[in-house]
Amino acid sequence: MAQTVLHKAATRGFADHGWLKSHHTFSFANYYNPERINFGALRVLNDDSVDGGRGFGEHPHDNMEIISIPLEGDLEHRDSMDNVAVIKNGDIQVMSAGTGIYHSEYNKAANSQVKFLQIWVFPNKRNVEPRYDQLTLQAEDRHNKLQQVLSPNPDDAGVWIHQDAWFNLGEFDKGITTEYKMHKPGQGVYVFVLKGDVNVNNVLLNTRDGLGIWDTDQFSITAETDAEFLLMEVPMEF
């Protein structure tokens, strides 16, 4: 029988650094909750807002698959592999930090916030060669259907990471239902609602709620209102 864990939006950790406001689904930086460390290989789900003209100065990372999904505004990315790029709403960015990478992310707009999801997944291999990639997604490809935006396979749709993870975005009209099938045994899916109300196996989720579901081969998702959501399938043991 499917097991679930529900994280209501208001129960997430919160950090207000003035220029940065961040809601943490899982323990991060100064937010520590031993009951909320990870969901399988999914370790970080931060819902960040960065003030105009501000951002994350150059800082290092290692051994983590880091995915950013901008929801509003544009972020300028620079890294130690000489990548300079702007990611905007509709894009997805991925970094394999591996043996070590430096990067900065800035909101170039002077007066408007940038909002984005920062997601960290444990890699299935330590000390890989660092890499960076980004992709522009087509919004129409997720209207009333699931759009794969990440997988473990370089030749598959979306970006890829060093982990048996598959991410899908959906933008469903009210009343639309779909079934999600796990790619492999031992996997779980963390559903994060970006906007609207979604019913997952008879659990109602509202905006920014999260639900982890595992010990099942498949589950149903129904949009109770017009809704946008992200599904993150990851190994539960890794």
Binding site: P34, R43, P60, D62, Y102, R126, N127
Partner: protein, 101 residues
């Protein structure tokens, strides 16, 4: 004065090592020693009774296995954990988690 929690960080990447050591030392209850090589790490471990060892970027699987074996032989109570992320994001949770084991 309360004894600080002693944390040994082993990491091949000098800048990440410096960052992690600095972040740990920002916590007044923790004290970090950073080492890039296995030899340095073993020497440091023999000089100080470390509570936690963090294995960071670039430490090969073979080195990690040897270090774990050596550290646990010297101090069976030490917690040896892998560090992920290379910055402040996961550091506190990794250390708190190790101390609660």
């Amino acid at each position: 004065m309360m004894k600080k929690c002693e944390i040994l960080v082993v990491c091949r990447h000098p800048d990440i090592l410096a960052t992690v050591v600095r972040l740990i030392n920002n916590n007044p209850e923790w004290h970090a020693t950073g080492c890039q090589s296995d030899d340095e790490a073993v020497k440091a471990f023999m000089l100080t009774k470390h509570n936690v060892v963090l294995i960071g970027a670039g430490v090969e699987a073979e080195s990690e296995a040897k270090l774990r074996e050596e550290f646990i032989a010297l101090n069976p109570k030490v917690k040896v954990v892998q560090h992920f992320g290379g910055g402040s994001g996961l550091l506190s949770a990794e250390i708190y988690g190790a101390l609660q084991k």
